[in-house]
Structure formats: structure tokens, C-alpha cells
């Protein structure tokens, strides 16, 4: 089985040569860190990924969680890994020192997350969810909630979840119906049903803490009546022992992939004894939850890129070893076959994978840099980074999610028939990666968010800032003779994105919201391609600069490989915007006009 799942070389290239993570060390908040430590963090993460997580990858797929006697039995590595992440400080890594964390820069915190997800996506989800849930309590919870829950979660003893979805409220969170009834004892009585909740009950931890959205009785309808609660599966009684909190698992779903982590259906308050504890103020729950959701969305993008990375290395390894066919110019059938990587079409598939995965990772790191700068800067500069992060979050979630489905598919294709069989991990990666365009908001919903809300944030200020960011890269690239043409291609593409955006915004006024948003998913796709091209230009600048130095043979190959992949992205991917721009400018409202009856074609 393929061994390599992530590239330390690429990670270090992005961290140090493209995004200059060391520049964060000048800010007091991050001044306790050093590059030497970042390297040890990368090393240690690779070791944990390689020795602890990767060996269980296939096992967790073949023996998925089992639901019996009200609980869910998961693979034993879940407990080991949660303990490791608790004791090793990986769950609390970005929390401030005073809350028991390590105040790690987001950019660095990305590294273990990416590596763990590439080694074994299902396993990586348990600590990741716990981090996000605990940070949400840290941000908005009372002192009592913080003291009761956060230390156990940071220690990896208790699992955190985000419990939003209900049967009638998936994409449409406004329809959440779970109720919370105030009591005079400081807690609420919870009643309702949640579905698809990841990690919401399992035997790899001692307790599960749901960060749950519900409606306080009498609250207004819609999103303005949603509140956030902590609902533990077990609560402390007067003696301080953990007793059941009337959170009942009524079933687990059998999924296509990502099988190592259960998603459960929950029924709350069957015996009228489910206690929930309000976080922050009533009716502000969705706003609070967005902190967790936005972090989780970037986490999903990272998870997709991670599976894409593992699939890329597995297909690369296979393509180097599999002899099949001969060069088209070779007429002698007795000559040995060539490894398939010698075929241009196989190289094209591998390049596609690499361009998508490394482009996506770069974009995600760009977003995490905005998170860091938002953290350490003040005033206008802080706001600028916050706006950029806000604008780009749907893209950071959706581009990797959508495109890594394709890139893993191409990886599978490299293996031919073996790609389809379970001796090789590609078929599993293909199933595992398919979740990403669905959870944490479907691609369709993110398209609507990007076009319907984000590009107009503060009258388009965020969008203007984004264009300036790209222009800055273009100007820098113009300083390198080798990159001039590409800089002008990106300039042209960005102009098209800008024009399409203003054209669509005027359609909103002329033809109404429905026509305006009908192709929002395609707009998201266009936006994504331009964004990744920008990231490849940044990488090409770093590689071109490096190639001017005296380098070892390996380094020359690495940077030249980067340049080839960059050229691939511009030559094969960026050109795809032409069709999208054409479609988006044709605002005929086709999908709006057509009635569902038109799908009728006989019984």
C-alpha cells in the first residue's frame, strides 16, 4: 500500500517561501514561537500520521462503527488518538496560553490538521470537532460552562460536536424546531430531533458535548429565534458523578465513505429529562455558531485537500511502477513496456491532481494567514483581514471540496482496474472525499452566500480588497521576465471576474433575485478558479526566485516541478473560465423559467 500521503517539502515551501510564516513572530501574541519549533511540529505530526493513523485507514473503512445498546462502538484507535491529541496539546493548540492552549498561529495549526487528515480523514475529525466546539464555549460561554466542559474537551476525554441539522432543517437552518424550555434551575429542558450529527455518541471518549441549536419556547420564527446550547450526553448529578442526560441515539447512518466516524440520529428529551445550558444570550445562537461553522468550513476544505494529497501520492507511486504500453514511436513489441508515468496522458492526470491539491492548500494557507493577521493587527488592518476571510470562506470550503472529488477520481483513473478495487486505497479515498461538497453547507448554499451576500459586503469593499490582493501578486510577477505573460493572463481573468460580478449585481436589480442567484454555483466555480490561479502565481514567484540561487539537484527538480504545475494550472484550468463567463453573462433565467412539470417524460 502507498506510504506517502503528504509532502513535508511542499508544506515547508508554502510556510516559509510563499507565506513567510516567520513574519508572524514579530507580533507579541506569537513571539514565543520559532521556526525551529514549527519544524518539530511538522515532524511530529508526520510521525503520528504515519505510525498511529495511517495503519488504521483501511480497517476503519472495512469495520465501520456499530450501534448497539444505545451507544456506538468505534475503532480503538479513536480513544488512543483522542488521548494523544489531548495529552499532546493538539486539541487546544490555537487557544491562548491563559486558557491552557499553545497560542499556535493558525497557519501552523493547519499542519497537524492537514497531515492527520491526509493519513486518516475519519480519525482526524474527532479532535478537530472537539477543538472547534471547545473554542465556541471559550468565546461565548459563562465561566461555569467553560470550567465544566473546556478542560475535559481539551484533554481529549470528552468529544465536542456541532448539532444543527434536523430532518426538515438541513440547508435551511431557519426551520430548526428543537425546543428549549426555561426552568427556574438555570437549565433548559430540551426536546427534539437532530440528524447526521458527526461523532455525537461513541465509546472512544467518556462523554460527548453537543453544541446545539434550538429554539427557546416563544422565540420568533426564523434565524432570529435560534439559540445556542451546550447539551452533554452525560451530565453531573449532585454527587458529581456522570449520569445520562436523556440524549438518545436512535440510529446511525450507513455512509458511502468517511466511514470511520459515525453520524447519528439523536432524540432529545424522550423522558423529559434532557438538560441544555444556554450559551451567551437567547436568540443569538446562529451568530455564535458561525464562529464554529466558519472555522469548520475551512477545516472541510483542508480535509478535502488532505484526501486529495493522499490520493495524489498513491497514484504517483503506482504510475511510476506500473509498466504498461510503449511509446507511440516504438514499434518493437519485444522492447520492455514503459512505466505508465511516461505517457503524456497519465502525466496530465497527475499534474491535474497536483495542481488542484497544492493550489487548494496554498489558498487555504492564505486564508489562515488572514486569520492570523486578523488576530494580531489592529484597527483598519485588522478589519481588512477579517473582511477578506469572510469573503473567501465559501471558496475555501468549496473549491477544495468540489475539485478534490475530481482530482481523486483522476488518481483512481491512473490505476486503471486496480483503482476500482480495494487492494489499493484509491477507491476508498474516492468515497471518503465525496462528503465534502455536502456537509458544512452544500456547494449550492455557498454559491448563494458568495454571490448573494459576500461580494456585496460593505458595498463591495471586501471584493475590492480581494482584487487588490490579486493585483499585488500580478505586479510582483511582472518583475520576472518568465512570469510576465502569466501575470497578464491573470489580469485578464480577474477583469472578467470583476465584470461578471457587476453584470450579475445589476441583473439582481433588473430581473430579480431568482435569476440573479440561479447560477450562483457556477459563479463560485469561476471565483474559485481565479483564486487558485492567483495562488499558483504566488507559488511561481517563490519558485522563480529560488531558481536564481545555487541549488542542489533535488531542489532544482522541486522548483521546476512547481513551475510546470503552475503552467499546467494556467494552461489547462484557468482557461475553463471562458465557458463559465459566457454562461454567467447569459442571464436568460433558463433554470428559473423551466417548470418542474417540464421534467415530465411519461410514467
Amino acid at each position: 500500500m502507498a506510504e506517502k500521503f503528504a509532502s513535508e517539502r511542499n508544506i515547508k515551501f508554502l510556510l516559509y517561501e510563499v507565506f513567510d510564516v516567520a513574519s508572524l513572530l514579530q507580533y507579541p501574541y506569537y513571539s514565543e514561537h520559532s521556526v525551529e519549533m514549527f519544524d518539530i511540529i511538522t515532524d511530529t505530526s508526520m510521525k503520528i500520521g504515519r505510525d498511529l493513523l495511517k495503519p488504521c485507514l483501511m480497517e476503519m473503512d472495512k469495520e465501520p462503527p456499530e450501534f448497539a445498546n444505545g451507544t456506538v462502538k468505534v475503532h480503538p484507535v479513536v480513544r488512543t488518538f483522542m488521548q494523544e491529541c489531548g495529552e499532546g496539546g493538539w486539541i487546544s493548540s490555537i487557544a491562548p496560553f491563559e486558557s491552557g492552549g499553545q497560542q499556535l498561529p493558525h497557519m501552523i495549526d493547519f499542519i497537524p490538521r492537514f497531515i492527520f487528515a491526509a493519513a486518516n480523514y475519519s480519525a482526524s475529525v474527532y479532535p478537530m470537532l472537539t477543538t472547534e466546539a471547545a473554542l465556541l464555549i471559550e468565546s461565548f460561554g459563562s465561566e461555569e460552562l467553560k470550567n465544566t466542559y473546556v478542560p475535559n474537551m481539551f484533554a481529549g476525554k470528552w468529544q465536542g460536536t456541532m448539532a444543527l441539522t434536523e430532518p426538515q432543517a438541513g440547508s435551511s437552518l431557519a426551520d430548526i424546531a428543537t425546543t428549549a424550555e426555561a426552568t427556574d434551575k438555570g437549565y433548559y429542558k430540551m426536546r427534539g430531533q437532530k440528524i447526521f450529527i458527526s461523532g455525537s455518541e461513541h465509546n472512544g471518549v467518556d462523554n460527548v458535548v453537543q453544541l446545539l441549536l434550538a429554539r427557546i419556547k416563544g422565540a420568533p420564527a426564523g434565524v432570529r429565534g435560534i439559540s445556542l446550547f451546550v447539551v452533554p450526553n452525560k451530565r453531573f448529578d449532585e454527587q458529581g458523578t456522570l449520569v445520562p442526560n436523556d440524549v438518545n441515539v436512535t440510529g446511525i447512518y450507513h455512509k458511502l465513505g468517511y466511514k470511520g466516524c459515525p453520524i447519528c440520529q439523536l432524540s432529545l428529551g424522550e423522558e423529559d429529562d434532557c438538560r441544555g445550558y444556554l450559551v451567551g444570550e437567547p436568540n443569538k445562537g446562529l451568530g455564535y455558531m458561525f464562529q464554529m461553522m466558519n472555522a469548520a468550513r475551512i477545516g472541510i476544505g483542508l480535509g478535502a485537500a488532505a484526501i486529495g494529497s493522499a490520493a495524489y501520492y498513491a497514484s504517483l507511486e503506482y504510475s511510476r511502477e506500473r509498466p504498461q504500453g510503449r511509446r507511440s514511436t516504438e514499434k518493437d513489441p519485444t522492447i520492455p513496456q514503459v512505466p505508465i508515468i511516461e505517457h503524456a496522458d497519465v502525466k496530465r492526470m497527475l499534474l491535474f491532481e497536483r495542481a488542484v491539491v497544492e493550489g487548494a492548500l496554498s489558498f487555504l494557507m492564505q486564508c489562515s494567514k488572514y486569520s492570523d493577521l486578523k488576530m494580531v493587527l489592529t484597527g483598519e488592518e485588522k478589519e481588512k483581514n477579517a473582511l477578506l476571510l469572510d469573503l473567501l470562506t465559501p471558496v475555501a470550503k468549496s473549491y477544495p471540496s468540489e475539485m478534490c472529488v475530481w482530482s481523486v477520481s483522476q488518481g483512481l483513473q491512473c490505476l486503471g482496474g486496480y483503482g476500482y478495487c480495494d487492494e489499493f486505497p484509491l477507491e476508498q479515498y474516492y468515497r471518503d472525499v465525496r462528503i465534502h461538497p455536502i456537509h458544512e453547507g452544500t456547494t449550492g448554499i455557498h454559491g448563494i452566500t458568495l454571490l448573494g451576500r459576500n461580494v456585496s459586503i460593505q458595498n463591495g469593499k471586501a471584493f475590492q480588497l480581494y482584487l487588490e490582493e490579486i493585483n499585488r501578486a500580478i505586479r510582483e510577477a511582472e518583475g520576472f521576465a518568465e512570469l510576465k505573460d502569466y501575470a497578464s493572463e491573470l489580469k485578464d481573468a480577474t477583469a472578467k471576474l470583476e465584470k461578471t460580478t457587476s453584470c450579475l449585481l445589476s441583473i439582481a436589480k433588473e430581473k430579480g433575485q431568482d435569476v440573479f442567484l440561479a447560477d450562483a454555483t457556477l459563479y463560485l466555480e469561476l471565483f474559485g478558479i481565479v483564486s487558485i490561479a492567483w495562488q499558483w502565481l504566488l507559488q511561481a514567484i517563490a519558485a522563480t526566485r529560488a531558481l536564481r540561487n545555487q541549488l542542489t539537484e533535488e531542489d532544482v527538480l522541486f522548483y521546476e516541478g512547481k513551475i510546470y504545475t503552475f503552467r499546467y494550472f494556467f494552461g489547462y484550468e484557468l482557461v475553463k473560465i471562458e465557458g463559465l463567463v459566457k454562461r454567467l453573462s447569459r442571464t436568460d433565467g433558463l433554470t428559473v423559467d423551466m417548470k418542474q412539470e417540464h421534467f415530465f417524460d411519461g410514467m
Binding site: E32, M37, I40, G88, G89, S93, Q102, T552
Partner: protein, 254 residues
């Protein structure tokens, strides 16, 4: 207890090793460096003893500047301080052990751990020479260790049996796989490691010269494997007899 763990930085077991064209060593470019896996067992055992009985763990390494990352890794696992002797590139086992001995003599020590061998040069000599130079007992290839009353009881596997060996402290123990499961460095550990003291020394500080007793004259890639042989024929019994004959006469393995 004063515990010492000697660590060496070596190429990762998964690194693709290329021998330099001039036979002077390996191509170092692009190699990932790690702590010698057997040394990891030593570090882990020292940390466990410290956690049980109190004391400090000092890591000592002979190696070029890049070996500092290996020392920091041991500090991140929980060791207290380090000594790094930097200018003995390509040292033989004797010079390495001499440098280690000189450094260790300056620190009070009860127990010194080495890996049973290093996975790069496979010489398996440093621990033993070190014990001689320190004038203390040695127990090599240890898979289980107990410490009580200023004595160690160590288990060492040999062909077909195990030996339980007692030795007085101070002494040198060389660690074998099975001794323990080394821990991963923790994030707080990594944060603290940065501030832990590491003494950087030159061999000359200990009066050791780079005039080695043994030098690698040439490094050659292993000979390429001769092609396999397929025994032809229809009768399995005849083929089996032919196989036995070849194994005995040609391969000389039975």
C-alpha cells in the same frame, strides 16, 4: 537520578539513500533526518525512570549543526538539557565514544542509555566503548529494565533464551526494540524545548582530535541482485529435487 541519553541523528528509514559518485559517503541533499530509532527507546526509558524516581535527563549528541533538531526533539519529549558536540563529522566509533565520555564525565551520571546500534553505520560499538571509557559496567541489547537499590536488572534476549543481568550503577545500557513504546513529543513539550539549555561544544574542548583510528575508505552501493532462476519441467517431484539441490549446492542455505 542523573540519567543520560545519547542520541544520534540518522537518515529516516524511508529516505532514499544514494551513494555519492566518488564513494566518499551518501548524498545528503533532500534527506529527512530523524533520531536513531534505537536511541528513541533509550530516551523514552530515561524519561520513564525520571518520571518514576525523579531526577534529570540530559541528552548528548555528536553530530553536525542539523543534529540540534534531534536534541530539541528529545527535549520536546521531556529531557531537561542537552550537550551538542558539533565538529566530529564522519567520526569513527572510538572518537564518538570519546567525545560522549568526555561530555558525560562533566555531568554526574547514574545511568547512561545508548541505542544498541545506529541504523546508518550499523557499527554497534559506541555504547560499549563508552562504558569502557567511563570505567563502568555495560549491558547491551536490553528489552526490559528495572532499577532498584543502586542496581539495574536488565533482560537481554539471546538465541533461544533470555538473560536476566544485574549490574551495579552507574552503568551503560544499550536499548533494543521492545524496551518501550517511545512517546510523541507534545506541543507544550515542543514549546518548552526551545527554552531548555543546550551546551554547544567543540571536540577540542574535550581534547579530542579529528584524527580517527578507523576511516571509511570507500562507500559502494550494494551489488545488484543476480537474476532469479526458474526451474523448468513438468514433474513437481523432479522440480522439488532440483530446488533442494540448488539450495544446497549453489545458494548454500541448507
Amino acid at each position: 537520578m542523573n540519567l543520560i541519553a545519547c542520541v544520534k541523528q540518522v537518515p529516516d528509514t524511508e529516505a532514499q539513500i544514494k551513494v555519492k559518485a566518488d564513494g566518499s559517503g551518501i548524498e545528503e541533499a533532500g534527506i529527512k533526518w530523524v533520531m536513531n530509532p534505537y536511541d528513541e527507546f533509550g530516551v523514552e526509558e530515561a524519561l520513564r525512570l525520571k518520571e518514576k524516581a525523579g531526577g534529570t535527563v540530559t541528552v548528548v549528541s555528536v553530530g553536525p549543526a542539523r543534529a540540534m533538531e534531534t536534541i530539541r526533539t528529545a527535549l520536546a519529549m521531556g529531557a531537561e538539557k542537552g550537550v551538542h558536540i558539533t565538529d566530529l563529522d564522519n567520526a569513527d566509533a572510538f572518537a564518538t565514544a570519546s567525545a560522549l565520555a568526555a561530555a558525560i564525565k562533566e555531568i554526574p551520571f547514574d545511568l547512561v542509555f545508548c541505542g544498541q546500534r545506529a541504523i546508518d553505520d550499523d557499527s554497534a560499538q559506541v555504547g560499549s566503548i563508552l562504558a569502557e571509557l567511563l570505567g563502568v559496567p555495560q549491558v547491551t541489547i536490553v528489552t526490559k529494565l528495572e532499577v532498584a537499590d543502586n542496581k539495574i536488572k536488565a533482560v537481554k534476549p539471546i538465541e533461544g533464551a533470555q538473560l536476566l543481568i544485574e549490574a551495579s550503577m552507574p552503568c551503560v545500557v544499550t536499548a533494543q526494540k521492545g524496551l518501550n513504546e517511545p512517546r510523541y513529543a507534545s506541543l507544550p513539550g515542543i514549546m518548552k524545548a526551545k527554552k531548555k539549555p543546550v551546551d554547544v561544544k567543540k571536540a577540542a574542548d574535550y581534547g579530542i582530535s579529528a584524527d580517527f583510528k578507523a576511516n571509511v575508505a570507500k562507500m559502494m552501493p550494494p551489488p545488484s541482485r543476480p537474476p532469479g532462476k526458474i526451474i523448468q519441467g513438468d514433474d513437481p517431484a523432479v522440480k522439488a529435487a532440483e530446488l533442494v539441490k540448488l539450495l544446497r549446492e549453489e545458494a548454500k542455505v541448507i
